[in-house]
């Protein structure tokens, strides 16, 4: 029973990492209706930027804020420079551009920073709580995830810009007719996603260590989490992330052993989606014409 509880706690801790990555995916999805496969590598690259700043002697929070801001700008720039030319191309062409972006970022990071793992500091105290099964950092990750979620909720719900972004994603033509610059809303969505990704990267790195392949596995779980929770619902993404973390741990520890734990977790997720095709909390669009 004790071990069971610990597996659940540890699953929640890992799950909060998936949750925050899933949040970033949901951001871009809400803005563009596309899943950005390069999201993980963008987060990894941002984390290296933070590492560079820390290495140069910046205090942690300055590096943190600087990285988030810089990532926001880079996200906007990527949308305007890399994605814009294929805006009107078929969806799969855009997916291929994402894949191109993914391999470029991965390879360039390896080239600049080499593949040796680097430790990345945590802003939280180096302590463990709850009998050592959750570290202060992991708890901090959960808190930050919830905080980011709350900020996003407030932003989308109560600011004109947030409203405009939602409108632009849903109905670009009507949005232009009320004066919304739809192109910039997409870029803004990318910027926000990149900024959240940067936060995710900086919180993940102290746990998994920083290396160019840091986000590969996590993105995959984040993708599953986002779909499980409902790709258009930030709160759902967080619940999905936590659920995937726990599910994975329990299936590994009690169901089939570690050799097939990923397989089983994925089968379960797909199973849930068969029953609820738009995810646990996905919005079912009600519409009368």
């Amino acid at each position: 029973m004790e071990a069971f509880l610990h597996q659940v706690l540890s699953g929640l801790a890992t799950g909060s990492i998936y949750a925050i990555v899933a949040l970033a995916l949901v951001m871009i999805y809400q803005a563009t209706h596309l899943v950005n496969f390069a999201q993980g590598e963008m987060a990894m690259f941002s984390t290296y930027l933070a590492w560079t700043m820390l290495d140069a002697g910046f205090p942690y929070w300055l590096a943190f804020a600087g990285t988030v801001a810089l990532s926001f700008v880079l996200g906007v720039a990527i949308e305007r420079i890399v994605i814009r030319p294929v805006e009107k191309a078929p969806v799969l062409a855009v997916v291929i551009v994402f894949i191109g972006l993914l391999v470029i970022l991965n390879s360039v990071a390896g080239w600049i920073y080499t593949y040796t793992i680097k430790s990345f500091p945590s802003p939280f105290p180096d302590r463990t709580i709850l009998g050592g099964y959750v570290s202060a950092h992991e708890l901090g990750v959960m808190a930050v995830t919830m905080g980011v979620l709350a900020l996003l909720f407030l932003f989308f719900r109560f600011t004109p810009l947030g409203l405009a972004m939602r409108a632009a994603a849903q109905n670009p033509v009507s949005s232009r007719l009320v004066g919304i610059r739809v192109g910039w809303m997409l870029a803004l969505g990318w910027g926000l996603a990149a900024a959240i990704g940067a936060v995710a990267g900086m919180l993940v790195a102290p746990i998994v260590f920083l290396d160019p392949n840091m986000m590969a596995g996590i993105l995959l779980y984040g993708f599953a989490a986002a779909l499980l929770g409902g790709i258009d619902n930030p709160a759902g993404a967080v619940v999905g992330g936590l659920a995937v973390g726990v599910l994975e741990n329990l299936s590994g520890a009690y169901l089939v052993g570690t050799e097939l734990k990923l397989t089983v977790a994925l089968v379960l997720i797909v199973g849930v989606l068969l029953v609820r095709p738009s995810g646990l909390f996905g919005r079912v669009v009600v519409s009368r014409v």
Binding site: V82, V86, V103, I104, S107, G110, I269, P277
Partner: protein, 324 residues
Amino acid sequence: MARLLGPDGRRVGLALLLLAACVLPFLLSSYRTFQLTSALTYAIALVGLNILTGWNGQISLGHGAFYAIGAYVAAILMDRFGVPYWATIPVAGFVCLGAGYLFGLPALRLEGLYLALATFALALATPQLLKWKHLEEWTGGVQGIVILKPDAPFGLPLDQDQWLYFFTLAITVLMFWLARNLLAGRIGRALVAIREQPTAAEAMGVDIAFYKSMTFGVSAMFTGVAGALGAIVIQFVAPDSFTLFLSITLLVGIVVGGLASLSGAIWGALFIQFIPNVADHISKAAPWAIYGLFLIACMYLMPTGVAGLLRAAAARLDRAPPGP
């Protein structure tokens, strides 16, 4: 181009292409012949994925799994049961037809991204399952299976690479012919109708469920045949050969080549076979960065793939006033 040359011109063009394909192995080194053989196997796999994704609009990020099943069926039959190599190909095709059809049944309920996730899961699970201890007796576990390369039969004056090339070429021609007949007629129209106007297709009496899951099966069959050929060409199968990256590579192939285009499969195959080598040649420090640049450049210049670009060029030629 088709209209420009007319149906006869097209037939002549194909014949010339085939002739060139037959002459090439006598002009090239065995190594180049081997590369072309492997490009041909990719082309078959790409036709398979293209039937599903290009024609029918179902996105699969997991076709590497069917490639792997085909490869392992061939390897296990040859290694454990002494089945001759040529006989493993149809078996691999049928096994994948079944596997694809079965996977297609639940996939019916999933669309777009969700289908992408399900197939993605398949791609991730495949190497894990191949390593699984309860299957190790068959799959050879992490060590994989080494198989022998066939000699040319009937005392033909061909070396192993040349013979395998012709063997693969024959199967490629057969599979392309099969795909063309399948897609040119009623079935092809039904697939496109399901992709473009599912509601209208249903109203017209198209059995969407059957078509979609069967498309999955047929698509997997093509890819499985390619996998079996790939295993024989490489003489080795192992879980590391069939990672998620293979599935992604196949997707890259059909998009760069051109969706819903048979000739696109050839262009795509050439791209995924040769461009990584070019990238490696340009930079050892970051070959993937070069590869990524190639990908993005391709999508900028040819958002509908090589085949789409050629089609547009041909249309422009047709429209242009005839010369003096």
